[in-house]
């Protein structure tokens, strides 16, 4: 069985009890960021990132110079007031940072602003609660804007990873790929996502699972195939190979997500065609 990356709470006993693992450590206070990183690095494990779960907007986080060199994943409700955020930008641009925002209208706008100013963002898309048109607009910006800008995921991820010959697995953008990430609690109980870990929906203990993988994992990985046995509209959607049916709204109104994912694939097609043409027109110089 392949060893997953473990997303752990900030618990010295837990982390020091692991060895030679790749670990993402969650903290809920900015004051713990440096300490958490150091702890993981000193525990004989590899640090994936420090996940700072902030209830404050990005501009209110007490950013520190000392965080340079620590891969940080910040989950925040919003970016905050621009005129306050703008003063933090010089520091933010020097950090190894990704900001996770839920895909509200405001955050969709702010993700673009941040990206244009050199700060990488990740938008958490939840089915049924998204302005798909605004998201399509942002996707076009993320993939096609001519001016240099920081990546916006999941678009950048999709563009890098999309392979026409396979279904895209992009739970990894949210650290929710059952084949790559386990979310632990202090007792090493394993959940397959942060939300499930918070809700204590565990599938077993780490040591047991790593001996014999439970069916849930394969079922989670194959969940998309259920779209092909029912009468799911997703099965015939042009954007399925990216979406995998993960974003179908519960009310069944799929026009929005369909348009978004179809347009994303179309945009990728244009990008590939451009790259292909550019390759053919290359000029050799002495």
């Amino acid at each position: 069985m392949n060893l997953r990356t473990l997303i752990c709470p900030y618990d010295p006993e837990l982390i020091n009890g692991l060895s030679n693992r790749e670990i993402g450590v969650r903290v809920d206070s900015a004051s713990l960021v440096s300490r958490a990183a150091e702890m993981v690095r000193n525990s004989g494990n590899r640090l994936l990132c420090v996940i700072l779960d902030s209830t404050q907007p990005v501009e209110a986080v007490p950013w520190e110079d000392a965080w340079k060199g620590i891969p940080i994943l910040l989950t925040a409700p919003a970016a905050g007031e621009f005129r306050k955020l703008v003063h933090k930008l010089p520091l933010l641009k020097t950090l190894n940072l990704k900001i996770y925002l839920s895909a509200t209208d405001e955050n969709i706008r702010d993700a673009r602003i941040l990206s244009s100013l050199g700060v990488s963002c990740v938008l958490r898309i939840e089915a049924g609660a998204v302005d798909w048109e605004a998201l399509t607009d942002l996707m076009t910006y993320a993939l096609c804007a001519r001016a240099p800008h920081a990546p916006i995921d999941p678009f950048d991820y999709i563009a890098r990873k999309y392979d026409a010959r396979e279904h895209l697995k992009w739970g990894g953008v949210y650290l929710e790929d059952a084949e790559k990430y386990f979310h632990l609690d202090k007792e090493k109980n394993v959940a397959l996502s942060a939300k499930e870990a918070l809700a204590r929906q565990f599938i077993g203990r780490l040591d047991e699972i790593e001996k014999a993988e439970p069916e849930e994992i394969a079922q989670r990985a194959d969940a998309w195939s259920r779209n092909f046995t029912g009468n799911s509209p997703c099965a015939t959607c042009e954007g399925f190979k990216i979406c995998m049916g993960s974003f179908r709204p519960e009310d069944g109104k799929t026009e929005g997500c369909k348009a978004f994912f179809s347009e994303t694939i179309e945009t990728l097609g244009e990008l590939y065609a451009q790259k292909d043409r550019a390759g053919k027109e290359r000029v050799w110089q002495l």
């Binding site: 999309y162 396979e166 092909f228 099965a235 190979k241 097609g269």
Partner: protein, 700 residues
């Protein structure tokens, strides 16, 4: 590669509605005995030894081959290892299965047999494929999907055939996307259903329906093919018709008889799998015959002759012969009872290719116009008859709208002077336009130059749009004559030019280093097409240079300079050019303002022509050199009314017509003119008489 359709059993766990095997009472549901299986591999070895350059593809078929069980395949592997030790590397195994019985236990033996891909068939929307006597379609679909996932997890790929029936026709794109989404790695082949049972005629489709089904899908696949799996027959047609390769499936290759044969569970040979199912084209038994024998059987030779025969008869001249070859002989038999007929689905191919494939591949065919409209017809009121006194009395003076060049303005000026001479009371106004006003200002026939009010009567002076203009066979077709006719003058008229508004003197002509002879070159024109190349001009200057001849170039500031000339570029506009011209003994020019001005001033001119015709636009008394166009436009590209090409560069490049003119002849003409001129009294940089109104100009 030789291909054997190997049916080790006709038994199947499914009962697909249109399957011939499922409903064939004579189908052999038992497994082929091991001793015959062993013989099979022995025959394979014999074949491969006899054909050292060939490979053998074994397509496990049925029925459902997975009903044979992993042990059977293990036995097959054993026999292969036993009999084909030296030839096993030239054997390829494929499995055609409904996948519903696939399990992990098969994986090791399939991998050892070198199986990498499964061929299958699936229908997401109908209940035509189902498991068991009840034809349980839902069970079939569920098991299929589960097995497909297992196949992928175990590292195999799979492709599928989709059988198009009447029930498919209402949703081609749904089917397409379903299959593309389900299996991005594998390939899909769309086949029309072939039905022998008349009770199933409700499923049958016509060639047109099949073509339209494919046609609904093809543009989408074509546009998205960069990220789509292979879809047949699209890929085959793209490869064959666009890339020129001949990668065709058996039905379309025309040589299936050469490459394919089938083996039934009882060892009987047939032409192929379908012929086996229909009991046609039996070729003996594996017990008596080798594979070489079978492939060289006269019946197969006859099938190959079919291809030749069709190419000379029914299919003769067909554009799509190379991707069809008359199709599957069994399709032909289904329609006519004769194996020598072409397939009834050939019509489907034709319709599909003409109606869908070619338009999508060739684009929409629209060509963007490369012509930039410099002069566009304005849908304004134009006088349909020559302007007369009655019009003016009724409506006030007519406004002349000239959308031409300064040369056109000079011609108009001459025409209007004749009008004014003959009808002094007739007055016109002139629509103000850059470059033209100066030529016409102060003209006795023109009252106002300005902006016509909303209710003004407008008369177009665009003579090139008049019927009859450009007719080389008639004087009336000349530009000047046409203009004169438009203003009510009786033809023919003397082609006299006139202007009231030329400069009294040219500012810089005093400073020129005059010599015994002086020649003015005016190479530029409103259109690049009317210009000779600078290189040719420079060669001409070299021919004409002499110690007693001053060669001067005039034109706009931006015009390229001709080496060897005295440049007055940018120093004389149209008005100033007229008094300047009068100082020269000759002018060499193209169809431009200077050509008209030379005529006005009575200065001998050598005029070079290409896209326009001297018979239409040049003046008598001038020496004309007309280039013969090499572009196929014998009349010249700008001769008739169209001025659309004015701003479009000549595509001929170095072969531009004007560049083909003979410089020796031109030079000779110039020298002749210069030889006949009297010497002027003023030489050197002295003050010279100021210019006067044109009627009074005369050379001393």
């Amino acid at each position: 590669m030789a291909t054997v359709i190997f049916k080790a059993t006709d038994a199947c766990n499914a009962q697909c509605v249109y399957c011939d095997v499922a409903h064939n009472e004579n189908a052999i549901r038992e497994k082929m005995p091991y001793e015959m299986l062993e013989l099979f591999f022995s025959r394979i070895n014999d074949y491969l030894l006899a054909k050292p350059d060939d490979t053998m593809g074994i397509t496990w078929h049925g029925g459902e081959p997975l009903l044979l069980g992993p042990d059977y395949f293990a036995k097959a592997l054993e026999f292969q290892q036993k009999h084909c030790e030296k030839t096993a590397h030239r054997i390829r195994h494929n499995i055609q299965t409904n996948l519903t019985l696939f399990k992990r236990e098969y994986v090791p033996v399939f991998k050892q047999l070198g199986v990498t891909n499964f061929g299958t068939s699936y229908d997401p929307y109908t209940d035509l494929r189902g498991i068991g006597a009840t034809v349980d379609a839902n069970l079939y679909k569920r098991k299929f999907i589960e097995s497909a996932r297992l196949v992928e997890r175990e590292g195999f790929s799979w492709g599928m055939i989709y059988v198009v029936t009447k029930l498919s026709l209402s949703r081609p794109l749904d089917i397409f996307w379903f299959l593309m989404n389900l299996n991005p790695l594998g390939s899909v082949m769309f086949n029309p259903v072939y039905l022998r049972d008349k009770k199933l005629s409700y499923l049958d489709i016509t060639p047109e329906e099949f073509a339209d089904f494919l046609g609904a899908i093809f543009p989408v696949w074509w546009k998205n093919r960069w990220h789509m799996p292979t879809v047949e027959p699209f890929r085959m047609m793209e490869e064959s018709l666009i890339r020129g390769s001949r990668a065709m499936i058996c039905c379309d290759s025309g040589i299936c008889a050469k490459t394919h044969f089938g083996v039934a569970p009882d060892g009987a040979f047939f032409q192929c799998g379908r012929s086996m199912e229909w009991g046609l084209l039996g070729l003996g038994s594996i017990r008596e015959r080798s594979f070489v024998d079978v492939l060289e059987d006269p019946a197969k030779a006859k099938m190959l002759k079919r291809t030749k025969l069709l190419g000379e008869t029914e299919c003769k001249g067909c554009r799509y012969w190379d991707v069809c070859h008359g199709g599957c002989p069994l399709d032909g038999w289904l329609k006519t009872g004769s194996l020598m007929s072409r397939s009834r689905m050939c019509a489907a191919k034709k319709i599909f290719l003409e109606k869908y494939f070619e338009p999508a591949v060739n684009g929409d065919g629209s060509q963007k116009k490369a012509v930039e409209n410099c002069r566009v017809a304005v849908p304004a009121a134009r006088a349909s008859r020559p302007a007369g006194d009655a019009d003016e009395k009724q409506n006030g003076a007519i406004w002349i709208n000239l959308r031409g060049t300064a040369g056109d303005a000079l011609m108009l000026s001459g025409v209007l002077k004749q009008v004014a001479d003959r009808f002094p009371q007739r007055k016109f106004n002139l629509v103000s336009r850059a470059g033209l006003d100066p030529i016409l200002r102060g003209h006795p026939a023109i009252g106002e130059i300005g902006h016509p009010p909303a209710d003004a009567r407008i008369m177009s002076a665009d003579y090139w749009e008049e019927p009859g203009y450009g007719n080389r066979g008639s004087e009336a077709g000349r530009a000047y004559q046409t203009l004169a006719r438009m203003f009510g003058l009786e033809l023919p008229v003397d082609e006299r030019l006139w202007t009231a508004n030329h400069a009294e003197k040219n500012r810089i002509s005093f400073g020129l280093p005059w010599k015994a002879k002086s020649l003015l070159l005016c190479p530029a024109a409103d259109s690049a097409r009317k210009q000779m190349s600078i290189k040719k001009w420079e060669e001409l200057v070299e021919l004409l240079s002499g110690s007693d001849t001053l060669i001067v170039q005039a034109g706009k500031r931006s015009a390229p300079y001709i080496r060897g000339t005295y440049s007055l570029l940018g120093l004389a506009d149209e008005r100033e050019l007229i008094p300047l011209l009068q100082r020269f003994d000759a002018v060499v020019t193209v169809d431009n303002f200077a050509m008209h001005a030379a005529h006005l001033c009575g200065v001998p001119a050598v005029v070079l022509w290409g896209p326009t015709d001297h018979r239409v636009s040049g003046y008598s008394g001038q020496r004309h050199f007309q280039a013969a166009p090499g572009c196929g436009l014998e009349q010249g590209c700008m001769s008739s009314g169209s001025r659309e090409l004015c701003c479009v560069p000549c595509p001929q490049g170095h072969d531009h017509c004007l560049d083909s003119l003979n410089l020796q002849e031109i030079g000779g003409a110039v020298r002749e003119i210069l030889a006949g001129k009297k010497e002027k009294p003023w030489l050197g940089r002295e003050e010279c008489p100021a210019g006067t109104r044109v009627e009074e100009i005369s050379l001393p």
